[in-house]
Amino acid sequence: MPILTPCAAIGEALAEEMHRDPTVLVFGEGVATKRHELVSEFGATRVRNTPLAEGITAGTAAGAGATGLRPVIDLLFAPVLCYAMDELINSAGKLRFISGGQFSFPLVTLAMTGGGWGVGAQHNHNNEAWFVHSPGLKVIMPSSAADFKGLLKSAIRDDNAVLFFIDLALLHEPGEVPDGEHVVPLGKARILRPGADVTLLSYGKTVPSCLAAAEQLAAAGIGAEVIDLRSLKPLDESAILASVHKTGRLVVVHEAARMAGVGAEIAAQVAEKAFTRLRAPIVRLGGPDAPAAASFPLEQAFAPDAAAIFAAARSICGHASPLQALPLGSAAPGNGGQAHL
């Protein structure tokens, strides 16, 4: 199987979809400069640089999407999405409803985010939950090179506006990408590792940390099921509930702030729909309610690492009987020989 970086996988997805469908075009600041291979293959009208004007870039994509084109726009860094909020939220997200279904808005917005490059709070802000909270939009955040390609191809074919978040730390991490046509449906989570004792649910750069934690948990006799959400909206509710039904324990992990983050929504849904199956309190691990720091160690502290995930999972696996919620780090309940399972 070919080994590609997510950056290259994105390039393949763009090229394949532009080849398949002549209405697909890509524009953004530096797109034509950086992806010159696309310019050579598809010409300067379908691969365009734009002014540093993210509002008009997103609005142009919305208007073009509604009238026959399938634009992919690159807005570079997630905090820059602030400049494009009216166009994405009020136009692309709402005009289908407002027009009584007369128009749809097939467009994909690429934005990088997350720690790893020390770019600071105004270039690194995991704001994906903002868009999950906005109607009419879909939100994707892959963790593997194969998914970057397969999910981007699906996003381009989707008739809705899709926010496609690119975790900076993963962009140049090589991974296997299947040969030939590789399409991953939106809205489907993936079980990366089965386990019976605790569910580790994550997306983006904390997925590999969950896998590493699962290894450590296995050594401690705890079977962790690791699920990569991939799509934050639509959320794969059935995959989440099925896993929690099996394990009875849930740790949700993301780099974005815990406060009103995607993890909060998942925890709420699980509490509403699988309360009686829970054997321990749900744990949310996430970043602080603070701007991302540029300093390397402070930036790294935003994303829960394998040690933190291991500790959280192990701690709730100490609670074997239903609903014996105790604060993290407190003594295991006196429930016989299940103190650590």
Binding site: T23, L25, T45, R46, R48, T50, P51, A53, G55, I56, A58, G59, T60, A61, A62, G63, A64, G65, A66, T67, G68, L69, P71, D86, E87, N90, S91, L95, R96, F97, S99, G100, G101, Q102, F103, S104, F105, P106, P135, G136, K138, D158, D159, N160
Partner: protein, 216 residues
């Protein structure tokens, strides 16, 4: 609205200017005939997206006829408080976009200017900025008593009401005698009354429509 050729709008002032570039890009890339006309006001011309839209339309050579209805009032603020200079058309030069200002209260003058401008957009494939110099006759919303508007200035504008002026002109040149105009008025009032009665007799939407057409 789609079958009438009206594609997209936004109730966020200026939002339509960001959509127009996309519609024009489709027009151009898909080889469809015709141009895109984008209507906005002097208030929208104070939004950042006005500048972004004109700049991109000029750089990408998009066939857009920008029509700015400069009606003096931006919600509850007179344009004198929000911009220097009187004319939005002057800003076209900054982007290399040809522009013109026309008496917005003269229907024939507006028609003539619009035909000329759209012919230029059609011929050149490039944007044009047409400003219609006018004033709104009613307030920003209903019922807005416009107590904040200078009554002298307002009545001077009302005296130049474009519909009344057209009607007088049509009567003067014999194209539409006053009696015929009154009959036309009556027909239109009847049509509005019928539409209103239809709306009032129609049931409210059902709750399932809340989630209809949110996603494709």
């Amino acid at each position: 609205m789609r079958e009438l050729g009206v594609v997209l709008t936004s109730t966020i002032v200026g939002g339509e200017m960001s959509l127009a570039t996309g519609v024009a890009l489709s027009q151009k890339m898909l080889g469809r005939p015709g141009i895109v006309a984008c209507f906005f006001g002097d208030g929208a011309a104070c939004e950042g997206v006005f500048h972004e839209s004109l700049n991109l339309a000029a750089v990408w050579e998009l066939p857009i006829l920008y029509v700015c209805e400069n009606n003096q009032w931006q919600a509850f603020v007179h344009r004198r408080e929000t911009m220097t200079g009187e004319h939005i058309a002057d800003r076209g030069a900054a982007y290399g976009i040809d522009s013109a200002t026309v008496d917005g209260n003269d229907v024939l003058a507006v028609q003539h200017a619009a035909l000329e401008a759209s012919a230029q957009v059609c011929g050149s494939g490039r944007p044009f900025l047409l400003e219609t110099w006018t004033c709104r006759s009613r307030g920003h919303f209903e019922p807005d008593d416009q107590a904040y508007v200078d009554p002298t200035e307002h009545s001077a504008w009302l005296a130049r009401d474009p519909i009344a002026r057209s009607r007088q002109r049509l009567a003067d040149n014999g194209r539409l005698p006053h009696a015929d105009a009154a009959a036309l008025d009556q027909r239109l009032r009847q049509r509005i009354a019928t539409a209103l009665a239809f709306a009032e007799a129609s049931p409210f939407p059902t709750l399932d429509e809340l989630s209809t057409d949110v996603y494709a």
